[in-house]
Subunit: 336 residues, 2 copies
Amino acid sequence: MNNSDSKIRIALDTMGGDNAPQVEVKGAVLALRENLHDLFIYFVGKEEEIKAELKKENYSGDNYEIVNADEVITMHDSPAKAVKTKKNSSLVVASKLVKEGKAHALVSAGNTGAVTMASILNIGRLKGVSRPTIASPIPTEKGTLSRITDSGAFVDSKAEHLLEFAKLTDVFMRYVQKVDNPTVGLLNVGEENSKGYQLTYETFELLEKSDLNFKGNIEGKDVFKGTVDIVVCDGFVGNIVLKFAESVLPFLKKKFKDYANTGLLPMLQIGIAKSAVKKALHDTDPNYYGGTPLLGINGITIIGHGSSSAIGIKNMIYEAAKSQEADLIQKIKNSQ
Amino acid sequence: MNNSDSKIRIALDTMGGDNAPQVEVKGAVLALRENLHDLFIYFVGKEEEIKAELKKENYSGDNYEIVNADEVITMHDSPAKAVKTKKNSSLVVASKLVKEGKAHALVSAGNTGAVTMASILNIGRLKGVSRPTIASPIPTEKGTLSRITDSGAFVDSKAEHLLEFAKLTDVFMRYVQKVDNPTVGLLNVGEENSKGYQLTYETFELLEKSDLNFKGNIEGKDVFKGTVDIVVCDGFVGNIVLKFAESVLPFLKKKFKDYANTGLLPMLQIGIAKSAVKKALHDTDPNYYGGTPLLGINGITIIGHGSSSAIGIKNMIYEAAKSQEADLIQKIKNSQ
């Protein structure tokens, strides 16, 4: 292993997703072939399976290495327990490559809780960060991607944590997403300052006193509108909103299908509508925007859906590469 | 006034909505003309304006009465303050008609917080109910309407309140919506019992010990799926999810419009798609399902969107009528 060159080194949890290692290898090879970033990929996982997939892809560059790891953390594993006991899992081994400085970024489409735990326990939090945050992208009417922070790293955060989440996400938006002076809103049940309960009152005050571009309270209806770039909430609310948002497309598909089944004309209409709807909503596909950063860790961590496609994996790798090119970790350190 | 007959008596806050009193009068007249329920409507509000609207509608039945009220509570009024100080507002006067037994139901498309306060302060809670709940309908993939309870009556509820919300909504679903043995789910960040935080742990235990048809935790993605009939959560989360859900259609419209503007073929495609989408999603229009009950009050209260159409108002009146025909208040008393 050699990390003295300028390559962006990605530790890919190659066994993480629902269709691992096939889509992981396919996605990584797409990224290596497109060559938009100067990448080096550690394929971490079951060596024989990874070799077989690489052979299928017929890829023979010298910008990768297979790191064997025999265990797999599944979606059903308890995060903390799995990370502590499955020492030879692809996720744990990949996270340790980041800790050891061999890789800049951990990329995984595995168990979100376990990726979070592995990042906290093995890579470690940045100094000054008491809680990292999952800053999930969410498409908006404006065509921008807002971020919901925290969307589920923790479920019992306090006002000072929410302030940290906002600050970490602000740095990410500025330097990685290149959003100029990103706006921040506190997710609440009404726009007036007086709305909410103890946590929101306290968070509102902290955000207002901060240097952030705070726009006050926003409501559930403002998330898709893109009223602000950064939607601040605790991880319980954020996780529910995020998963609800992700259910919108399947809901539409089912409704269209049911309507198409009511007759020949509806079937024709929906047939024509389908491709239009797909194009109109192409930027709402999680595979399109490529993963979610876990911010506040002493290394780049990008988490993806278990159901990520190869394109999704490729875009997760790109998100990690962009974060490294933007020197995200140093930028966060400077902001503390 | 005469309440000795069998008519269902509705106190309509005729000045409540964004387009009051026009849509309120139009909607009520639609209900009176359709005559599906044996209704008597109190039009509560500015007498002259209501008279003018009734004249426009050319309605001359004997099953209504105008009750003058000169003040109006707006969407910007502070709920508690407005209900206490605007004694001659249409909302306060209408709620008092229910308190006095002259009307069975209060129907309002006004300020939700104010309708909740007026119901609690003027009509009163049922014995055994510490907190009423707003049980908002939400469309599902299955074509059913689930209920999110509480969707915003309170924002700092405890486990015992959430249990009450579930019980009140269970009675409503059984007797008004005629759902057989409605299923109940606790909105959480994962399906496992161990997920969540103090409030969800405690609520889970209470729901599990109850006689309700409790199916365990559900996630944000399960709401649109219709995994359960009754989604239990505190009003902070419920309000955010509800408002987010209501933003889905406007989001789609904007995305379609933007895509249509990219060229002639997209414009044609979207033109055809539009009517199909409208039909496929017709049951997701809040005007279609007619308002939200506030449960736990000693009288029927139906709250609607400020932007309700005349059809929306009509359906709110129908929801109130169905609740009275099902003898909802007595059924809730029996369940205590």
